[in-house]
Point group: C2
Chain length 330, copies 2
């Protein structure tokens, strides 16, 4: 089957490349560590020229052989590659944003091979406290494409990560989203605060410790908020009630529990109902598993996991931009 | 005037030494950087013996000459010097704790000079989420000693710091306290998270940026909690609404605002009244000034600053322990 599109998911620490055929079918995929903050540095010859540019080098590693075989393949990329620190800045599109808006706003950068890389812009919500995303918009659009028609406004799409995003969609448009820095706060507290000093980080997930953290966040004691409750990850250790090995997953559950408790409150207030929306999670399987567990504890009853969101979203955007055709002539 | 007591406030990063006379009057005071995590390392002769012990070296630097002049002076110390990482561990006393309890529970360590150093224990509250303090209990007791009789249960003592403590007192006893890791979280976010990358840290305090952060925490948008609102310190920068130079004090105000909003809620619930207690602040003048500003915005109407809390508390504890007399014979 002939490839139709090269699709790149190019973030801060990783670069995933997909070779897609008709209908967005994945023919081949690769995962490189060449995120925009850790690009290759060893110069080499590309297209007859000695090149030291990290973006060019990473691009060539990711899909140079695919382009050698099919030089006319269009290329689309999403993620931090379009940020101010990326290969070429693609200015944010405002909410509400859908496939058509974003597909019409691709930024291009001409690579050394002469191939244009089409970069998906991020999305900005200009609310009192603004929110931005880059890469997640593509995943959300990939999920929306595969939703049954009856899945409507009673839906919230969650993208756990260093900065988790919770996205509200109406009629295929991204209308509102919130950001929580939970993952990065967990990381900096574990690596750089006093809480890390008594933690013993192990390989396996301690579900009981995690659940205890979630329950603490949801309890009456948790109402004092995460700036205070996080100290319990230390003080419960001092009193012998929480082992060093249990402290990391307790802290993880505590922070995710606070995130989801706040999210549930905000959702109920915005939707003016006690009823919580259905959730679709997109992202790393282990992290989504933590969030599923905590969502259940918070009363979110309907949670499903989406797969292949990025490559599907990139395919849809390439279609909207006219880079590929829905039914190519053979 | 003859000295009666050497009082040491010995924390993680600093060591303050006071030479006190009758009634706790301060004759002389010194500030050293020899906290328990940064003790001196150069061996030297103390009392005829070559000594490499950091605690001995710091102790000798802090008050060796005072002891040379008056070898019989009693010595009392509070703070992290009594922790498991200190000179000698002084086990926590349970709440409720007062001057008599703590004064009767001093731990001693015999120094190379032959002088006993009497170490004040910290206080532990064995609630569902336990809380501990070391050093703050002495400051609280120092403040209580100077309060008018009518200052009663309608009082909350605040000790801003890396880990701020909010202490409820009844009849001279520490009955309950909460910890917020606000200061340390501000530090790790500024130094190690993405928020620090766009911050420009200046020398002078930006009151407008700080107040804006406080107001954001107290606003309807702030109800989503600090795990989410902290991202606005970055996103307001991306939209050009918050300069790099304003970001640190905005983040500081935001976090302190969340701390105090949570504190106000908890206090109202516990006291079963909308009326907020009077506040006495103890600590670093610049930090207390930030907290005063934010307390005012949160509706805490009566806020005063305490001075000389540590040395007064150490004097009271030495009295209770019988190390000094209230009216020494002359």
């Amino acid at each position: 089957m002939l490839a139709q599109l090269i699709a790149l998911d190019w973030g801060t620490t990783s670069l995933r490349a997909y070779k897609l055929a008709e209908g967005g079918q994945v023919l081949e995929q690769r995962s490189l560590s060449s995120g925009i903050m850790q690009l290759p540095e060893t110069a080499r010859v590309i297209n007859g020229q000695l090149c030291a540019d990290g973006f060019e080098l990473a691009f060539d590693e990711a899909c140079g052989d695919w382009l050698d075989a099919q030089p006319e393949l269009p290329v689309i990329a999403c993620g931090m590659v379009g940020s101010a620190q990326g290969w070429r800045e693609a200015a944010y599109c405002d909410t509400p944003a859908n496939v058509a808006n974003l597909g019409n706003s691709l930024q291009t950068v001409r690579s050394l091979r002469g191939v244009d890389v089409h970069i998906v812009p991020g999305v900005i919500q200009r609310s009192t406290l603004p929110n931005v995303m880059r890469g997640e918009e593509t995943q959300v659009l990939g999920v929306l494409q595969n939703l049954p028609a009856e899945a409507g406004a009673d839906l919230l799409i969650g993208l756990p990560g260093s900065h988790s995003k919770w996205v509200e969609v109406i009629d295929g448009r991204i209308v509102h989203f919130d950001t929580f820095m939970t993952g990065e706060i967990f990381a900096v507290l574990s690596e750089h605060s006093i809480l890390g000093r008594t933690q013993q980080r192990g390989a396996s997930f301690d579900g009981d410790a995690f659940d205890r953290g979630v329950q603490t966040a949801l309890s009456a004691d948790g109402e004092i908020g995460p700036l205070s409750t996080v100290f319990s990850a230390r003080s419960l250790g001092l009193t012998g009630e929480l082992s060093a090995g249990a402290q990391p997953d307790y802290l993880s559950g505590l922070l995710i529990g606070h995130e989801l408790a706040a999210l549930a409150n905000v959702q109920r207030r915005r939707r003016k109902t006690v009823h919580l929306p259905s959730i679709i999670l997109i992202g790393n399987a282990q992290l989504c598993s933590r969030y599923s567990r905590a969502l259940d504890a918070c009363g979110f009853a309907r949670v499903t996991l989406a797969e292949q969101a990025t490559e599907r979203g990139l395919w849809q955007l390439a279609l909207a931009a006219g880079l590929v055709a829905a039914h190519p002539s053979r």
